[in-house]
């Protein structure tokens, strides 16, 4: 106490002089000074304790505490670890949560839990006392924002496309046809991203089988989302290749093609392979080029640019011979063509993909047929048998294969086939042993599978 009062006097420029020491002792011993000093100490303690309490409370109130965002219908689970969040001085506490959120706080486990019911931004209130505070002290409050995201499934709208548009096509379409000893199924559906905005399906397909020659063709195209008439480009491309194919079958060119195939089947020699390849490159190149021409004519007649009709195009020619199936393909753009045979998958080309998603090449680009660049886009293969020949747009390959490497991975093809056979979350099944008409409807349903972030138009052709 002596030191305290000496310090006080010094602060008031009244230091106790050396010779005043005895006199100062007497001063300190008087009753009213004793009492005043005690009051002063108590007051100081009160101020210090109060400040400590207020300051620690404010630390907690100001402390940035984030609670992870929740999502409607997705079970929420967040352990509230006050120590880990740096709320060391917090004692007793409870949470006030707005009614109807579907989230509660389990005090014993210190756990936020529940299935969120409402989307939006909500304020949760943390009511707390400090460790140092007595139990009857009123709670202090801290507000924390909780964001509950909507369930994305609930946000997709399904707006009809404009049927009056000259380039309108149905939002979904499917077909089945007999292809010799095989059956062809094709289903095509507008993606959620297009349905959400009432836009058109940009995918298309076409096919044809010629009983007389045994040759069939399957074409699938995906119009570019960024091009205004791409849906027409896709339709024109598919129809043009089927038309050119029919013209080819009726022409004398078929004689040299069949001769080359027969020679190759007999000898399997390198020389005969080169000949068959040459034949396919010539014929498929012409067929593909005719599709580009068809689009160019349409663009000219509508005084539009050919890139307004930008589309990908994949197609295969297939025919059964005594020793196996001859399959030849053309591929520009993304998507995929594969011959799946249980333990084996042969991919008939490479998707055109850029360094970013959604970047690809289109049939409508000038350089596709320049300098024989299209040669690498054409493949041919002879297989004794196959489970299915599959052509898909990227609406299927993106969610089901994800990367170009996976397209060459037989395990992923097996998974896709099992998926088609009903091994999926929704138990959605295509019965390939049932009637083709029923399988066609089942395939259309299967196209509705849910895959976050993948909501493009989906088209799949299956020859089985």
């Amino acid at each position: 106490m002596r030191k305290l009062i000496e310090k006080l006097l010094r602060e008031h420029q009244l230091p106790v002089k050396e010779k005043q020491q005895l006199f100062f002792d007497g001063f300190l011993a008087t009753a009213d000074i004793q009492q005043a000093a005690e009051q002063m100490l108590n007051a100081q303690n009160f101020i210090v304790e109060s400040w400590k309490e207020k300051s620690l409370t404010d630390d907690i109130v100001q402390k940035h505490v984030a609670i992870p965002n929740a999502k409607v219908n997705k079970p929420y689970h967040f352990p509230f670890d006050a120590e880990a969040l740096g709320l060391h001085e917090m004692g007793d506490y409870k949470w006030e949560i707005p009614e109807g959120l579907g989230i509660t706080f389990e005090k014993e486990k210190a756990l936020f839990t529940g299935i969120p019911q409402q989307q939006g931004e909500f304020i949760l209130t943390l009511l707390f006392r400090l460790r140092m505070s007595p139990a009857d002290k009123p709670f202090s409050e801290k507000k924390i924002r909780l964001i509950i995201n909507p369930d994305p499934k609930s946000l997709w709208k399904d707006l009809p496309s404009d049927e009056q548009d000259p380039y309108w096509q149905p939002d979904s379409e499917a077909m089945t046809a007999s292809f010799g000893d095989r059956t062809l199924l094709i289903a095509s559906k507008r993606g959620r991203s297009h349905a959400h905005e009432g836009k058109f399906r940009d995918d298309s397909f076409a096919s044809s089988f010629d009983q007389a020659t045994g040759w069939g063709i399957i074409a699938v195209a995906d119009g570019a989302g960024s091009a205004k008439y791409s849906r027409r480009g896709a339709v024109l491309a598919c129809n043009a290749v089927v038309e050119s194919f029919s013209a080819l079958l009726a022409s004398e060119k078929m004689i040299s093609l069949e001769t080359a195939i027969a020679a190759y089947m007999e000898t399997q020699s390198e020389e005969s392979q080169v000949k068959v390849s040459g034949q396919f490159i010539e014929q498929l190149g012409k067929i593909a080029f005719s599709a580009q021409q068809k689009i160019r004519q349409e663009a000219l007649s509508k005084q539009a640019e050919i890139k307004d009709y930008a589309t990908t195009l994949i197609f295969t020619l297939v025919k059964k011979y005594a020793s196996g199936y001859v399959i030849s393909s053309f591929w520009v753009g993304d998507g995929g063509i594969g011959i799946y045979n249980n333990t084996d998958a042969i991919v008939l080309g490479t998707p055109d993909s850029g360094e970013f998603a959604g970047q690809t090449r289109f049939l409508t680009m000038q350089d596709i047929f320049a300098d024989n660049a299209y040669i690498n886009r054409i493949r041919f293969k002879v297989v004794p048998d196959f489970t299915a020949l599959i052509l898909m747009t990227d609406g299927i390959t993106d969610p089901k294969f994800q990367t170009d490497a996976n397209l060459r991975n037989v395990a992923i093809w097996q998974k896709l086939w099992q998926d088609l056979e009903g091994n999926n979350e929704d138990g959605c099944k295509v019965d390939f042993n049932g009637t083709p008409e029923k399988a066609k409807e089942e395939l259309l349903n299967w196209l509705d599978f849910w895959s976050p972030g993948n909501h493009d138009d989906r088209t799949i052709a299956i020859l089985y």
Binding site: A66, L155, S193, D222, F356, A357, G358, M365, P452, H455
Partner: protein
Amino acid sequence: MANDSKERNAIDMRRLPVYLLLDTSGSMRGERIEAVKNGLQVLVSKLRQDPFALESVWISIITFDREVKQLLPLTALEVLQLPDIIPPESGPTHMGAALELLSLKLDTEVHKGSDTEKGDWRPLLFLMTDGKPSDLAAFRAVVPKIKAQNLAGIIACAAGAEANDSYLKELTDTVVHLDTADSSTLMAFFKWVSASIGTGNKSVGTAESIQLPPPPEEVHVII
């Protein structure tokens, strides 16, 4: 296990990276920065109502004044919580340095597609300033680097009377001007930004730019 595979799917998903470069120099203090913060809040809540954005958009915020900071690393919209923005008392506008940091982040944060990895969507950049670059040499040095990044869109916004459009024109063809940098105008801008982000998921050729929705009347496109 089922849960595990879903998480993995989420990681494999293609993201639409959106970079917001915001001027936080001294002149932004007060009403302007509050308007920007409200604008960001609205931007994020609007995007959360867009099913495509909710599943795909990832946002990063880079602020520039005397210092350049990545206030928010590239973060999924779904888990994102907006950070606080506090501009300094005064000081220069280091826009060049901000673009330099952006260039680095584009290289490190954005996934380019490869045979075995799924590429992100082409990123979008929105830059907002109420002034002009104080580090003009650095700005001019970095502009070609940003242009070479092949972004799906670069939208630069000059907010208020003191903002200079001509430097922004060096960065991008898409420059918009806000006559005033008050809260209702900035709000209109941010709403337009959210509508623009919704168009980012289109298949495009390798070099084409996205098409932007028509801007509201408060937002003038500088030709």
